[in-house]
């Protein structure tokens, strides 16, 4: 082993590509992710500028127009009107904001509660793990919609209470997910190295474990966005969330269900809106996993 061996390792400089370009490159690789991103971008725009985009904004917000009940789709009412003569398109547009906001809040709450608990359970092990996981089992033992309904029934029906109820019945999934990831991360040398350095356990959990759980959490959260949109719709359908006359996609499906054979447009179009958003979020899940993984940037 000569002195030559000890020379500093030299290697070619890596081309540094701006992060924005890298993200665009990851999205552009797959037509489905382009589709998902475009759809969600449209919905976000509609959510932001709905009141200026809707053809009949005041009907969107709930004012009835009894002269034109149950109009089929036509140039004046592109998606028809409902039992109070309100423009379905306007109601879908005005309802977009709540339809996107609520699931985001629910998922963020569920992750905020569930993920740290999962990391603590997986990292600490022993009775702490046992305790946390038995509590999650307790929550998971109920069908989540039933649990959410029970909570709403206790709190009283409103959009806020529906969100709280869904978050409460949702967090245990993230606890399980993150615990599983933590169990495998705990075996990595970098966690042991942090312990050897003397990094306190709580710092290891929040700085070393949780950041490395981001990819699976993001994928799960995005896919859950779709499921939560559906669940929020179900709660609204059952009259346990948004109250009429406010627009809500799930509520609109419910309002049209008795006339679905003759006035099919009343339920179908808000249903389609739910369908497309859920699909787009599911597709986005895969894309986000790629974006959040720094190893993708080669």
């Amino acid at each position: 082993m000569g002195d030559v061996m000890d020379a500093t390792v030299e290697e070619g400089e890596l081309k540094t590509v701006p992060r924005g370009h890298q993200i665009i490159r990851v999205i552009g690789r797959d037509p489905l992710s382009i589709f998902a991103v475009v759809i969600i971008a449209i919905f976000v725009l509609v959510a932001a500028f709905g009141p200026w985009m809707a053809p009949y904004p005041e009907q969107g917000f709930g004012r009835s127009n009894t002269d034109e009940t149950f109009q089929p789709p036509s140039p004046t009412h592109i998606l028809g009107t409902d039992y109070l003569g309100r423009d379905v398109l306007s109601r879908i547009i005005i309802g977009t904001r709540a339809a996107l906001q609520a699931p985001i809040i629910v998922v963020v709450l569920a992750v905020a509660i569930g993920a740290p608990l999962g990391a603590i359970a997986g990292y600490m092990g022993g009775w702490i793990d046992e305790l946390i996981m038995r509590v999650t089992d307790l929550f998971l033992a109920f069908p989540f919609l039933l649990l959410a309904m029970a909570i709403v029934a206790a709190l009283g029906p409103s959009l806020n209470n529906a969100m709280i109820a869904l978050a409460i019945s949702w967090w245990p999934w993230y606890t399980r997910l993150v615990r599983g990831v933590t169990l495998s991360l705990r075996e990595y040398y970098f966690v042991e190295a942090a312990r050897a350095i003397g990094v306190p356990d709580i710092v290891i959990i929040f700085k070393h474990i949780l950041p490395n759980c981001i990819s699976p959490i993001m994928v799960q959260a995005t896919i859950d966005m779709g499921t939560v949109i559906l669940a929020m719709g179900s709660l609204a359908f059952l009259g346990m969330s948004t109250r009429p006359p406010k627009p809500d996609w799930g509520l609109m499906v419910a309002e049209g269900r008795t006339v679905i054979l003759r006035q099919w447009w009343v339920s179908t179009f808000p249903g389609l809106a739910i369908f497309i958003t859920v699909l787009a979020f599911n597709l986005l899940g895969d894309t986000l996993r790629d974006i959040f993984d720094p190893r993708q940037y080669r």
Binding site: D6, V9, Y189, E192, A193, A196, I197, G198, P200, N212
Partner: protein
Amino acid sequence: MSYSNSDRPLVEIRSLVKHFRLRGGWLTGRRIVLHAVDGVDLTIMPGESFGLVGESGCGKTTLGRCILRLVRPTSGQVIFDGTDLSELTRREMRHLRRQMQIVFQNPFSSLSPRFRIFDIIAEPLRTHKVLPKLPRHLLYDRVVELLEQVGLGRQHLDRYPHELSGGQCQRVAIARALSLDPRLLILDEPTSALDVSVQAQILNLLVRLRHELQLTYLFISHNLSVVEHISDRIGVMYLGKLVEIGPTETVFREPLHPYTRALLQSVPLPIPGARKEAIPLHGNVPSPANPPSGCRFHTRCRLATDICRTDEPPLQEIAPGHLVACHLVGN
């Protein structure tokens, strides 16, 4: 900290035992106990480089982790510079960690994939608040200094571990271990995951750092040539026990324990016909969950006699500094 008697060992291990309880069959209710380390006595003097060799699964890694308290020993003591580690509170132990650090086998998994190189090396300094009320540029200077010490440069500061090669990752891991100015560095097979030319670079780096920083090494490896290159003294471990300890040169020239001889036989030599009598190893290492009675090596030892099967040989000093645990040696 400043006071250090050179006659006092830096690390003193007294009858250290680590058993791992494995969950046996739930229905049979049988407990399986893995004897990873089974009564090891060892002293390492300041400034020394001690090589610990043995086949995989012999407990050498667990021994290293017990010294750092990454695993809690079942019984026995680890005394670091006169302090019994088992008597320390968590806070005192955390403080003492500044003086002993470890470099792991797999350079990729030993660096957090979401930290930049700067943050990886700065983390120990931040954790222990080494530079009080530290202005950022001081921290920056120190990290750059550490990087240059291990043969990297400031161009690597903003990289992520996956952007570096295996050898470079291992250099970062070494820089991180050095950041707190430790006195003891445990090197747990630091080169075995690297290819040969990079192994040589890392070894030479370690030799250089040891002299520059007056470090004490515990070098754990299954690669005898590597250990010979870097160690002053070596210990040979078999199934949780030390079977031979001695100065590197003596052990390599005159191995006494049959296991050591067999290990040395397995090293490829550059000179044809340079071998002495061959004692080939046959069979596998017995399970540490059910170690053999008497001398643990007797199941694979050609020279084994009746006493080897019943009585456990003690570690005896045969020549000054040369200890062997074998019934056939010395009598």
